[in-house]
């Protein structure tokens, strides 16, 4: 369906203006290519050498080049917003469109999605080699990329929702890629249903926005403008903002719907890198910024609510990351925590938008790097458990160094990517007077550094505790790692205040953002990170610290953290089980007794009525019809004897008749 819509866009774009803006005008092609490559892989993949991976890699590669073109032209023209589109369908007076909305945010996000998707496509060549559903994996990977690009480029709320939902489906398919194991398929279902809890409010949020414009438009730009008019009720906007944020809570795994993301690690690692670290989970954050006009127009308490959620999530997820033994789960909790950082940035108002997106931007690269690095380790060790790792520094040098770069970036060590973006968030929090949030974020930064140090120590240093002889992964795996590590080293400079922070000129809300450099904030965060890393190294260098992990020896606290604050248990006992056992039983009963009763009763009644009608039909109607026929036959039978064939008798009748008539006429 996406293809069909975009094909319509093609016709419209043919008529669009001038060549100088070719890349920006034709940004929709970037979305179309992965759709085509997904279709090609699906239909021709198994007959193609390489089992169809070539379509996805080439397609996403071309998309990536086009995205670079879009950003290049966008910067050349000094920013702005380019919107075009066509009518998709019409509901009453409401014209729902499909098109492209290209501004700085879109241009940057296109780069993020296509570049990481390209890395993951290449990486999967090695990681998924020999998988029995290899071709199908590439189909869904390409389709997911297309859906995410559709969300990024969407000019219409319903177009955005379309991509949003396709992403959800693809996420479900990829988490459950190895569905033969029950835990994988149940994780997929959990992820799908948990995000759905957020998606339903999101959908109603869209309806609320369209309602707020008086069913005039669902175009994102026009909706934003319409909300400025005084006729729109504040309460409605606040409700819409909260409902939309529900979508963010679900998709970006914020408290209290974060529970699906750690379990989503059951999917193949490239999927975790693409979907559950870099892109799809960022869609929730992207959404808030894309519709930031709604949040700004709404009462301030809405953003306060967002800030509270972000604070809880950032801190809570970081604590849970301490006690994880599964390397991917550490990264998953870290992702939740970092997404909360971005949400926190958005909650600080317009000034935080640039910082939040810059963090999204840098985080996408180094978190994809970390996930792909962990995948490289898992590929070699055949285990997710860090107690089976250790000492991998020597056999896997490329993985080690790239993973180290990613970890330091995540910990916020200058001049790596994470430092600049995290620091920018802290500066804005400080400048805007969000003191509590500032403290929470600073502490979380320290905790992040500590658990990443723990992960590094457990995985790459010490003695090897697993089975077999670990070896470096093939070039298809290390290649993307090196590429992403290179990006992670330098990408942060885009937001560096010393270099003029060009990122703030591209991505902003209403006013271009001037990045500030506050020395004491930078010093504080860096010092804290270094101290935390040092502490981590000290703790895990001691003999036996690996076997008797102090993080797992904190008594009740460890129990609480290992059990994830009992949130899963609460959901299971408090919601799922009552719903499953009581509510579904009640529903079953009412279904069997009341609904079936009504249906059966209606059927029985109809039967009785039909019998009556049948009787009436046979006896009365048929009787009347037959009766008329029989009467005619009977009288005919009587009268036929007159037809004797005797001419003289006829003549006698004739004369009698004449005489009778004569008598009658003379009487008259």
């Amino acid at each position: 369906m996406v293809a069909a819509i975009l094909l319509q866009g093609e016709e419209a774009a043919e008529h669009a203006a001038a060549a100088p803006n070719w890349f920006v005008e034709h940004a929709w092609i970037i979305v179309l290519i992965p759709v085509v490559s997904a279709a090609l892989t699906l239909f021709l993949g198994k007959r193609t050498p390489g089992r169809g991976s070539v379509y996805g890699i080439v397609g996403v590669g071309v998309s990536f080049v086009l995205s670079l073109g879009v950003l290049w032209q966008f910067v050349q023209h000094g920013g702005g917003t380019y919107e075009s589109g066509v009518d998709w369908f019409q509901i009453g007076e409401l014209h729902v469109g499909a098109g492209q909305l290209v501004d700085g945010l879109t241009a940057v996000m296109l780069i993020v999605v296509t570049s990481i998707s390209l890395c993951v496509h290449v990486y999967s060549l090695g990681y998924m080699h020999g998988d029995q559903r290899f071709t199908w994996f590439y189909v869904v990977l390409s389709l997911f990329t297309a859906a995410m690009l559709d969300v990024v480029i969407a000019s219409d709320l319903f177009q955005l929702l379309l991509g949003w939902e396709i992403m959800g489906v693809c996420s479900y398919l990829l988490i459950g890629h190895w569905w033969e194991e029950h835990v994988n398929s149940s994780s997929a279902i959990k992820a799908f249903i948990t995000t759905r809890v957020g998606d339903v409010p999101f959908m109603f949020g869209i309806f609320a926005l369209v309602f707020a414009t008086g069913f005039e438009t669902s175009n994102i730009v026009e909706v934003g403008e319409a909300l400025g008019s005084p006729e729109v009720s504040k309460g409605l906007v606040a409700a819409a903002a909260l409902l939309l944020f529900g979508g963010t809570i679900g998709k970006s795994a914020q408290f209290p719907l974060h529970v699906w993301l750690p379990d989503a690690m059951a999917g193949p690692t490239p999927v975790s890198a693409l979907i559950h670290a870099a892109t799809m989970v960022a869609a929730g954050v992207y959404l808030v910024g894309r519709l930031f006009a709604v949040f700004v127009t709404a009462d301030p308490w809405v953003l306060t609510f967002v800030a509270v959620i972000a604070g809880i999530t950032a801190f809570g997820a970081a604590t849970m990351a301490f006690v994880q033994n599964d390397i991917k789960r550490v990264l998953a909790y870290s992702t939740i925590s970092q997404l909360a950082y971005m949400v926190a940035g958005l909650s600080m108002g317009p000034a935080g938008v640039t910082a939040a997106y810059f963090h999204l931007f840098t985080h996408a690269f180094f978190k994809a790097l970390l996930f792909l690095g962990s995948g490289s380790v898992i590929h070699t060790v055949h285990s997710n458990d860090m107690s089976d790792m250790g000492g991998l520094r020597r056999p896997m040098p490329v993985t080690f160094w790239t993973f180290l770069i990613g970890s330091l970036a995540l910990a916020g060590i200058p001049p790596l990517a994470g430092f600049w973006s995290k620091d920018e968030l802290l500066v804005v929090a400080n400048a805007e007077g969000h003191d509590l949030l500032f403290v929470v974020l600073l502490i979380t930064a320290g905790m992040t550094a500590f658990y990443m140090a723990r992960t590094m120590m457990l995985t790459f240093l010490g003695a090897y505790r697993g089975h077999g002889h670990p070896h470096e992964s093939p070039a298809t795996i290390t290649g993307p790692l090196v590429a992403l590590a290179g990006v992670t080293l330098f990408i942060g400079l885009l937001g560096s205040p010393q270099l003029g922070a060009p990122f703030g000129q591209w991505v902003f809300f209403e006013h271009a953002h001037e990045a500030e450099f506050v020395v004491w904030v930078a010093l504080a965060s860096t010092t804290l990170a270094l101290l935390a890393i040092a502490a981590g190294v000290m703790v895990y260098r001691r003999e036996g610290a690996v076997e008797r992990d102090p993080m797992l020896r904190m008594g009740a606290l460890t129990t609480l953290l290992v059990n994830k604050y009992y949130m899963d248990d609460f959901y299971f006992k408090g919601i799922i089980r009552p719903v499953r056992d009581k509510l579904s039983a009640a529903v079953y009963w009412s279904n069997q007794t009341i609904l079936d009763g009504a249906v059966n009763g209606a059927a029985g009644l109809t039967k009785v009525f039909a019998k009556v009608v049948n009787g009436f039909d046979r006896k009365v109607i048929d009787g009347a019809v037959d009766g008329v026929g029989n009467l005619a036959g009977f009288t005919g039978g009587l009268l036929r004897y007159i037809q004797s064939g005797n001419v003289q008798r006829y003549a006698a009748f004739l004369f009698t008749g004449v005489v009778v008539l004569a008598i009658i006429f003379t009487r008259i």
């Binding site: 004897y641 037809q643 004797s644 064939g645 001419v647 003289q648 004369f655």
Partner: protein, 94 residues
């Protein structure tokens, strides 16, 4: 005069209804027609109008044609069935 015509007509009716011989039936019809002719002429005389007499002439001409056709039918019946008894000519019945 009218009485004579009435008697003649009644005789014709009787002949048509009662005789078995088809030729006699035809002759009886002739009797009835002539009774009518007598009436026509009588009224013509009485009312001093020539119309009745002209009409009688027409009736004689039609009667001649009618007898011609009637006798032809009788001859054909006789050839086919060897009888001219009208009671036996009753094919057209129920």
């Amino acid at each position: 005069m009218l009485t004579f015509a009435a008697v003649l007509f009644a005789t014709g009716v009787y002949g048509v209804l009662a005789r078995r011989n088809a030729v006699l039936v035809l002759m009886s019809i002739e009797l009835m027609l002539n009774a009518v002719n007598i009436n026509l002429v009588a009224f013509s005389q009485h009312l001093q109008q020539i119309t009745g007499q002209v009409f009688a002439l027409f009736v004689i001409a039609v009667a001649a044609a009618e007898v011609g056709i009637g006798l032809a039918i009788v001859i054909l019946i006789y050839r086919n069935r060897e009888t001219i008894n009208v009671d036996e000519v009753n094919l057209l019945k129920w």
